[in-house]
């Protein structure tokens, strides 16, 4: 039974992961990513990592995805679509991906992993003690350094967010994303001119 659940979860994750990177609309990519993250939470539940699964659901699926959706919605041209790449480029990329996948799969599957037999469930209390322990196996130092990291990142983000407008001339190269709206606007402008 467990095997089937695993395969179902894996299928969901792989399909949504591929959909997430190949979708041309930003918002859809984010939603597909959400399914991947929920799938990972499912895998954690299966491995009996209940605390990690709960964190995965609340922090990643709940928090991070909402954050990404917010930032996507704040981007000006939300309905832009990524350009379709050239056929030759697509073939080369697909080949590179498949070769990479092949190398990784063969290496990982050929490795003689030792199967663990102990099935001790880690309780939340254990995790709490480990997070604040200063002995071997304790994680208080990384825990504190990560808090410094978050402070630094926050300051950096504020610096960038409170910046003034770009005053230089726009770049000459064509942007990466195709703009569709301006064409329609021009049509409207022409029409209004005619009516005037």
């Amino acid at each position: 039974m467990e095997k089937y659940i695993f395969y179902v979860l894996a299928l969901i994750m792989i399909v949504s992961a591929i959909a997430s990177v190949s979708s041309r609309r930003m918002l859809r990519s984010v939603v597909y990513l959400l399914f991947v993250l929920i799938g990972i939470a499912g895998i954690y539940f299966m491995a009996d990592y209940n605390f990690l699964a709960a964190i995965q659901l609340t922090v990643y699926a709940g928090g991070i995805i909402v954050l990404i959706i917010f930032s996507v919605l704040l981007v000006h041209h939300i309905d832009m679509e990524l350009e379709v790449a050239k056929k030759s480029k697509r073939i080369i990329t697909a080949l590179a991906c498949l070769i990479g996948l092949g190398v990784f799969m063969t290496t990982i599957y050929s490795h003689p992993f030792i199967e663990t037999t102990t099935a001790v469930t880690t309780t939340t209390a254990d995790i709490g003690f480990a997070l604040l322990s200063t002995e071997a196996g304790g994680f208080i130092l990384p825990f504190e350094v990560i808090s410094i990291l978050l402070l630094a990142v926050m300051i950096g983000a504020i610096i960038i967010a409170k910046g003034e407008d770009v005053t230089e001339e726009p770049p000459k190269e064509t942007p990466l994303v195709k703009q569709e709206k301006p064409v329609e606007k021009k049509k409207e402008l022409l029409e209004t001119e005619v009516t005037v």
Binding site: H111, F139, L141, I148, L149, L151, G156, I159, P170
Partner: protein, 476 residues
Amino acid sequence: MELSSFFLMRHEMALLAIALILIIAEIFIPKQKKSSAVHLAIFLFGIHTALGFFPLEENSLFGGMFRTNSLIHFFKNVLNIGVFILLLQSADWIQEKIVKLNRGTEFFILLFFSLLGMYFMISAGDFLMFYVGLELSTIPVAALAAFELMKRRSSEAGIKLILSAALASGVSLFGISMLYATSGSIYFDDILVAISPNNLTILGFILFFAGMAFKISLVPFHFWTADVYEGAPISVASYLSVISKGAAVFILMILMFTVLKPLMEVWENMIYVVALATMFVGNLFALRQQNMKRFLAFSSIAQAGFILLGLITGTQLGTASVVYFVMIYIFSNLAAFGVVQAISLKTGKENIDDYNGLYRTNPRLSLIMLLALFSLAGIPPVAGFFGKFFLYTAAAREGYYLLVFLAVVNVTISLYYYLLVVRAMFLRQSENPIPFFNNKLYMRLGLGITVIGILVLGIYSPLYDYIYELSAAFNH
């Protein structure tokens, strides 16, 4: 755990305290007097640098997550001196350009957080601390690269740096997870016992190396370097090329010489190829650069290739040569970037052609540049020669004669483009050369220390012996 054992972390504690003091100072200093924060930051960091020289015992904390010994302590001091020079050189730029935008203090805060990340990274006793330190040292620099937000190129540099750094650290993390899968531990000491050269471990190591190679900008992973250096403020480019690269080289070397030593047969060949590619690509691309920042970017890629000569050996001599070379490289590259900084601040000119006839108008600056370039190229009287010479010795002793020969060929190529700049400054004439200007006190101090470093480090031989002795810690 005793309270007194925190004394082992005094570098980290002091730097964190300085950063927090600056955050508080930023709140309380009135808006008209913001430039005084620059003096405060330089003063505090100067004290921190000076106090850092007091000896520190060898020990580890937190169950082996944080460790320190005399070589790590020495290297933290080298990083401190480098950052101190960098602060002196960028003080004028901050006072003239950045304080107006009301974010002068933040520059120091972010820079210090990034340096703190490097401390933790090189002191790490396990892969978790290593990774957290790596992130803490990278992410603030991305914000710094985008510091001149009104310039489109600067924002572009920030985005490029953060995206490629995220990819690189993701790849490196995947590699670490494979090493964990095969050895069953994240602690370096445990991995050393359990590691064996099987396929999965090797794949993990390759991915881990790729992430680090990005930080050091070795050749297949160097594409971000020139663009980011060109777009970012000069101080930040200088920081990336000197401090960031130095710290990454140091930790990579420690890991390869201790934990990953059982994989030596694999990484020997890998580094051989990467070193050659890095030297040739860096040097050949540097030939055709017109912008000084791009020029120094490719030159720094080529220098990273030379550092690999010491890394390939896996011996005590190799460790000592790499640390010695990185130290000299910090002084030489900071001198070159300092001159570019001074000229760019006064005139806004950054192209090699703009330097035509610089000797007639600004003889002192062009002499400093001359020394820096000679040191980077490795011409005998200055320190850079000795740095390269010891690297060659270390590699030749292990029998890499062909590699050393090709490295010497590369030095010849690099000599050509370094001399192009020298020719522009000394021999060429220009109708409107850069006019004469005087630097302020901080910039003079910053350039002066680098000149002393370049001249003295090569001649003062006990230093190398001292580093050689310290290097025994990582080579059993």
